[in-house]
Amino acid sequence: MSKISFSCNFKSSELQSLALSVEVRKPNLALVAQTLTTQSVDLEPGTYYVTAKLPTGQELFNQVTVVEGQSGIVTLAPEPEDEFPHEWLEVDCYITGQPLPHLVPVT
């Protein structure tokens, strides 16, 4: 068994410290563990897929290969197309679900 923990790769400290629900599944989709990103899980060697869910429903994915006796950290980050350049946008969109504000040219 190996201990696996999770790290969320957000820009904002509010989101990084958030405890998100996490599912760990085998490649055949069998659910192995349900926990929080602030917790760790013990896994048998093998390949697993990790999914975390944001309050607004977006999901963060990653894949991990667990080796016997080696602990590891799975980094979970938004898909590149879902990323925001500024942390203040992250909080609005990932926590409250507010749409991006309309940007207008300032003349």
């Binding site: 490649p27 055949n28 069998a30």
Partner: protein
């Protein structure tokens, strides 16, 4: 009354499954679909889809009887179909006794007796027909001979709570089934006829004993939230039952260890979650406002097993649409093996968004611009779970 399906003789002493299905479309004392309402009909007419719904549930149960945790022993069916439903499904004609009060009382009491033979028994109850509410939390089921003219208004009606409570373990029924599934596919709105009177009484189906602990798993899946109606497709089936059958056929599937073995199965929790998703989908598709609410005593337990890994409906959408002609979608399975032409290239505009069904699993879906076009960029895929109930994906 003999059950329509009866395998008790072959299952002596074993835990088993006992089913009671009741569906009413034709009400003796309510106007037909296009006839004018009467003061005694309280805004209700005969229905067009509920008996057919019950028939489909009945057929599904018979066809999947090997998939339950315990074997099917009895299936009692009471149906009052409409002529339209018989025209659509001739198998309905003469299949079952009509769903009158007396028939319902006899069938329900026999069902309870069978259910109480073993604590590991499982029961399945499904009602579809008119339903009303007297209080914010009850659910009254109107039977075929509902009659607003003579005696108490709800004399030929029964209360879901009475059925539920009467099926609890008690001194008389110490071995009552401890897994019970209830599906109430009926409206739960208030009748204006109630407002000027003391609460009307239904006919009790069971005398409810106060003795005995009640630790059963007994979820009640209501097709309607309090104060709302159920939606049916004329001559078809109710939206709830359609969503339910989709879920039972795999859209509520989950793979977890059961008794030390990984098995695809439907559980109370997975069914609850999938029904919410499916009904939301139907509401969006049809512009309907069908509700769904879970009540009763809820604990998670497998309800039945799936023979195969379920198929999942996928919706692939190219954004922006202008890139449709030059977007080639590539898909790898969890072993990295390409799926041959998962989506035709180019996707014809009339097929977009592209819908298909894949076996549940992990897939890496990427989009390649072919030929390269500087206005668009390739979309590299990452492995994502494709699992019930039917996720919507955009690329």
């Amino acid at each position: 009354m003999t059950p329509g399906f009866d395998n008790r003789a072959n299952l002596q002493g074993q835990p088993d499954l006992h089913v009671l299905i009741a569906g009413v479309s034709t009400y003796q004392n309510l106007p037909k679909q296009n006839d004018p309402l009467t003061p005694e009909s309280f805004g209700m007419r005969q229905l067009s889809s509920t008996a057919l719904t019950k028939y489909k549930i009945y057929r599904w149960l018979l066809d999947h009887q090997q998939n339950f945790p315990v074997p099917l022993a009895t299936c009692r069916l009471l149906l009052s179909p409409s002529p339209d439903e018989v025209a659509v499904e001739p198998g309905l004609k003469g299949l079952a006794e009509p769903c009158t009060l007396n028939n319902f009382l006899v069938a329900a009491n026999d069902w309870r007796t069978d259910a109480s033979s073993h604590q590991e028994n499982v029961t399945f109850f499904y009602f579809a027909g008119h339903g009303v509410q007297r209080t914010k939390d009850d659910s009254v089921l109107l039977l075929e001979d509902f009659d607003g003219r003579i005696g108490g208004l709800l004399r030929n009606a029964v209360d879901t709570n009475n059925i539920f409570k009467g099926m609890a373990k008690s001194n008389t029924y110490p071995n009552m089934a401890q897994t019970q599934l209830y599906f109430i596919d009926a409206c739960r709105d208030f009748l204006s006829a109630f407002k000027n009177f003391e609460p009307e009484s239904t006919t009790p189906v069971f005398r409810v004993q106060l003795s005995g602990e009640d630790k059963r798993t007994a979820p009640i899946f209501y097709a309607a939230a309090p104060g709302t109606k159920v939606i049916g497709i004329k001559g078809g089936q109710t939206l709830f039952s359609r969503a339910l059958l989709d879920c039972l056929n795999g859209d509520a599937g989950e793979l977890k260890e059961v008794n030390g073995q990984e098995r695809w199965h439907i559980s109370v929790h997975s069914l609850n979650a999938a029904l919410e998703t499916k009904i939301d989908d139907w509401n969006k598709t049809l512009g309907a406002q069908q509700d769904f609410i879970l009540g009763g005593l809820v604990a998670n337990t497998p309800t039945h097993f799936l023979d195969l890994t379920p198929l999942v409906e996928i919706v692939l959408e190219v954004v922006p649409l202008d890139a449709l002609n030059c977007t080639r979608i590539k898909v790898l399975d969890d072993q990295g093996v390409p799926i041959p032409e998962p989506v035709p290239f180019p996707v014809l505009p009339n097929l977009h968004p592209y819908r298909c069904k894949w076996i549940a699993g992990f897939y890496t879906i990427s989009a390649e611009i072919d030929p390269p076009d500087q206005r668009y960029i390739n979309f590299p895929g990452r492995a994502r779970p494709v699992m019930p109930p039917s996720p919507v994906m955009r690329k």
